[in-house]
Subunit: 337 residues, 2 copies
Amino acid sequence: MKSDIIILGHGSGGKLSHQLLDDVIIPRLSGLPQRDQNDAAVLTHGGRRLAFTTDSYVVDPIFFPGGDIGDLAVNGTVNDLAMSGARPLYLSVGLILEEGLPIVDLERILDSMKSAAAAAGVTIVAGDTKVVPRGKADKIFINTAGIGVFDHDFDIRGSGARIGDKILVNGAIGDHGMAVLAGREGLDLHSEIKSDTAPLHELVAELIAGIGTGLHVLRDPTRGGVATTLKEIALQSNVDLTLDETALPVNEAVRGACAILGLDPLYVANEGKLLALVAPEAAEDALALMQRHPTGKGAAIIGEVSDASTGRVYLRTAIGGLRAVEMLAGEQLPRIC
Amino acid sequence: MKSDIIILGHGSGGKLSHQLLDDVIIPRLSGLPQRDQNDAAVLTHGGRRLAFTTDSYVVDPIFFPGGDIGDLAVNGTVNDLAMSGARPLYLSVGLILEEGLPIVDLERILDSMKSAAAAAGVTIVAGDTKVVPRGKADKIFINTAGIGVFDHDFDIRGSGARIGDKILVNGAIGDHGMAVLAGREGLDLHSEIKSDTAPLHELVAELIAGIGTGLHVLRDPTRGGVATTLKEIALQSNVDLTLDETALPVNEAVRGACAILGLDPLYVANEGKLLALVAPEAAEDALALMQRHPTGKGAAIIGEVSDASTGRVYLRTAIGGLRAVEMLAGEQLPRIC
């Protein structure tokens, strides 16, 4: 039964988010069919393509191992642009501040945004600041919107997967979600778990330069994790995907923490990871290229596109079974980004 | 003495907002000098100019006489683009929803955004939805960012005022702020007070077509009202401005309500008004052109740029005195947009 009020699961990035989008939001705001919903919109004006995207950040806590809401807000939007194959150029920043926020915290977050923008080569060109009374927000929410340009004419999109494509990830999964959870709950989840927040546009530029049209799909598996993002790709491309459980890179500390807490790393958010679906003949080149890059050292080929067209995702388990993978149901970890 | 925490006045759009911007935010995020801070950034790429802007909307209540947070979020960003002389084309929408928000309220707001976007001729191309737990936001916050293009090569900016320019406004001031206040407090401020929220891009396009380079400055006097916006222009252009109190259009109901509540309409927010500074020889044409347009029926010439260069604004009062006009101090009406 559908809820008649907003519940936390509507923000999970998983099944309930998709329901809200499909039933309530998309029909009113854009009418865009699901197969055309990507991390960034690609606009054509004056014969040139532009990428445009937005994300709001409400992560709790605002400071967590490996990052804070500031660099997250910059890197997240840089990455959404990069996933469309664009070169990120300009960001806008919308701040919603809660009365009582210490100015030193704001300064620390803005410093972090400044560093992240410099590292990603983007310029913050527009901004807005609102303040709401104590208890009407939670410290700080940040919206970033971004504009990117294209240095090539390839189409990289969620609907671009083809039979035989290999699925690559640029490193270990689940770090961001577990780092935020540790920060929030004050858990001592081994101090080595840090958010993987990082800009991925350089890695994407190298993939484009290296394998060109062999690069079919790019997505960053944030809310809802690798499982939810792959399910979205399978539906958008109308293909089936098979993942190899033994090939999935997961840091030991994350694996252990997930086991203790009953979480599945496949559903835990990432902020410095991308999934690339590439033509089979380009897969080894793409893998080598990733592994040479600082943000791709732990890259692996984790699965492939099979020859069925039912929009399903399967996990080939360590003991040889085949398990269907669905989108995240409910809210595994609210306010993860 | 400066506060070491965020206080409501930091969101007023007035003096405290400027302090926070100048001391904390701008140095870290953009480094842009004040004279170049406009409602939208103008970017040049591939030889073409683009306008880019963002605003977050946190208005309380979310439904008020004459509008709601949805059409406000669309019109506000459309207007920020228009004030740079751009034709608004694309919007992104970032929603932050509080757990417990009735879906029917969300639907009503989204319907309102859809209508406003259609009326303004803009397309919503990118979006994001986050949910926070009950008590961590207030029903709904909306961020919109927008992209516009230029059909001309005129420069319209806050630093463009010249000695002798006439100051025009396209109608009665203070309606939006008083409508929101009435909605918030449940005041019976005569039911005829309605928000003036409206898209102004068509009026701007007609001004550009009609008086061309005679159009020097455009700004929409939202938070902080006409007084604060004119003070900003005076500082950006390094000119003095003189306003005629008797020429200022104010609806009777707003005038009465302001008198009762001890508010000055010059500081009350507008959402469908613009201030245009135009060359003296173009002023009568601009006025006639405004008065023929549905969003400019109540237009008036309200002042002029004098020959001093101290960044001051004066009000010539009804009884012939000359009073200095400063930016809004403190927070007259928090969460007005």
